[in-house]
Symmetry: C2
Subunit: 329 residues, 2 copies
């Protein structure tokens, strides 16, 4: 039997957490031979603690063979202590009266604290995925507050955007999602992100020869960008199960490899493709042996550069605001 | 690539359905090499249809490699046509003003209709699991309305009670759930059911030598019977993820085998252990080659018979009420 891996999950009693924890415990993320210690971080208020207790009872009621231990705490140091993986799902959502700077400040508080706790108590090679929005900048904050951890290990989730793009393309050209290769979503998870089909193929044939550019730019790009809103409109709730699924895909690819396929992860830029070093940016990556590498050498033209510029601008504006907050914290 | 199996799920846009569908599509139930056609049955009202559409959008957004097709309908014939597996999750819940007979009547309407549709359009070897309560009697109704299908293939879910018992025992004697063998829950899913530890062992040692009978009867039996209520109290919602997990366990064991282990399924009695033939009763079963067998020859004493009698009485009372309804339908 393998040694258990400790998975820390924040916002565990929320909607995404409820869709996520049971799949982690069932082995969907780390495989059927990997025992798991699960630790949930919840806010220190009665409703959250009660909800977390209910989730723990239900985890017990599943009698998961792989679930070695489960705990719930409102203390980040307890949650992240010796953790192998952290999935930072909890974040402060935007309320009607909030300006963007307020939202960034509210989230900065959370991610400064969690970044420091990770720095102090987690395994040195912990892998961190930020799901809570604005996820790219939240991942940037946590990384900046964890100087002892390899910066590369702080990532943000754009796999949901990647998966959404896959299905939209598959439905458009009537193929299987597994037939599509080389697709990625560049940039900042949000309105400016760029689903890139220009290097994508279906059974070796370029996708761009199978679709027209008007559909691509006027339909696909806004559909992917607006998909979260469309789900809320249909369900009356935001995406939970599909977000949880993307989080599982992200970590599973990272740990177990992506079988030489390109997947999308938002990771600290190493300067590739002219993206300023250090921004948490959606890149095409390939995962192998528990590590990821940004795919190099893809042909980039003015069309890409225009999209990149919008995303760089958005992320640099957020960075300027949160750098000030981090400096004062 | 294997031929897709069609899985029909009713009440798919409810809480259990939302926890269930994504795990089915991820391969948790039928394995990583089994493509799936998923068909959801929803009630014909705006809220249900909208919720089902939201779920379908999120299933799309997961880009599940195994999900061959997904559809949603309010027509049982469309939902069950050529289905290999039916998971009947949707049922009429009991409201404050309802008597037990009203509840049975309201559910009889649903399960008479679904039983007939299954009879007329499903694959002849369809496997049916009823999750919606009162699940034993609902399974009985559907079976009675499907004379062309092997009666053995109509089952009800007591795996959640089984799993709950496993963890309670594991926590009591401080062992792993996977160390416990031979446990089952007899009877009717509800207040009278009987978690049986008398044939259960941990690494070959009888569980009954490791616990005291007072804890067993005064603590374990009521804890398992009252667990659903305790979850509602903690969560503010009824068990969803743990119920979905048990449904997956039930079907996975049935299809892929239980590795010579005893699991609990509520199945039509063949008269074993003095349980009247035809009642849908929780039994210890072993699954192999896509079939289950009731475990025979277990030693039964007065202690068991007393519990059996209560469950037989409850199920025969329900049977009398629904037999009349079925005859008139």
């Amino acid at each position: 039997m393998k040694t258990p891996m400790k998975v820390a999950v924040t916002g565990a009693a929320g909607q995404i957490g409820y869709s996520l924890l049971f799949r982690i415990a069932a082995g969907d993320m780390l495989g059927e031979d990997q025992p798991i210690d699960l630790c949930m971080l919840e806010r220190d208020n009665e409703a959250s603690i009660k909800a977390a207790r209910g989730v723990m009872m239900e985890l017990d009621d599943c009698a998961f063979p792989l679930l070695n231990k489960v705990c719930s705490t409102s203390d980040p140091s307890e949650c992240f202590r010796d953790a192998d993986i952290a999935m930072l799902v909890g974040a402060r959502p935007r309320t009607a009266d909030m300006q963007r700077a307020d939202l960034l400040a509210a989230n900065a508080q959370i991610f400064v604290q969690q970044g420091r706790a990770i720095n102090n108590v987690a395994k040195p090679d912990i892998k961190v995925l930020v799901v809570g929005n604005p996820c790219n900048t939240n991942a940037y904050i946590a990384r900046k507050c964890a100087p002892n951890i390899n910066p590369k290990n702080f990532t943000a989730m754009m796999r949901l955007d990647h998966n959404r793009t896959l299905t939209q393309v598959a439905q458009k050209i009537n193929c299987k999602v597994t037939d599509i290769e080389g697709l990625c979503v560049w940039g900042n998870h949000g309105g400016t992100m760029f689903p890139d089909l220009t290097h994508s193929t279906v059974k070796g044939k370029p996708v761009m020869t199978m679709i027209d550019k008007t559909w691509y730019l006027s339909d696909l790009v806004p559909t992917v960008a607006g998909r979260g809103g469309a789900i809320i409109k249909a369900r009356g709730h935001s995406s939970a199960a599909s977000a949880a699924n993307a989080a599982i895909d992200h970590i599973r690819s990272w740990i177990k490899g992506s079988n030489d396929q390109i997947v999308t992860m938002a990771v600290p830029s190493d300067g590739s493709y002219g993206i300023p070093e250090g921004l948490t940016f959606g890149f095409p990556v390939v995962c192998k042996d528990g590590d990821y590498e940004i795919v190099k050498g893809l042909e980039i033209d003015d069309f890409h550069k225009e999209f990149f510029a919008k995303n760089i601008k958005a992320l640099e504006e957020e960075k300027a605001i949160v750098d000030e907050i981090i400096a004062k914290s």
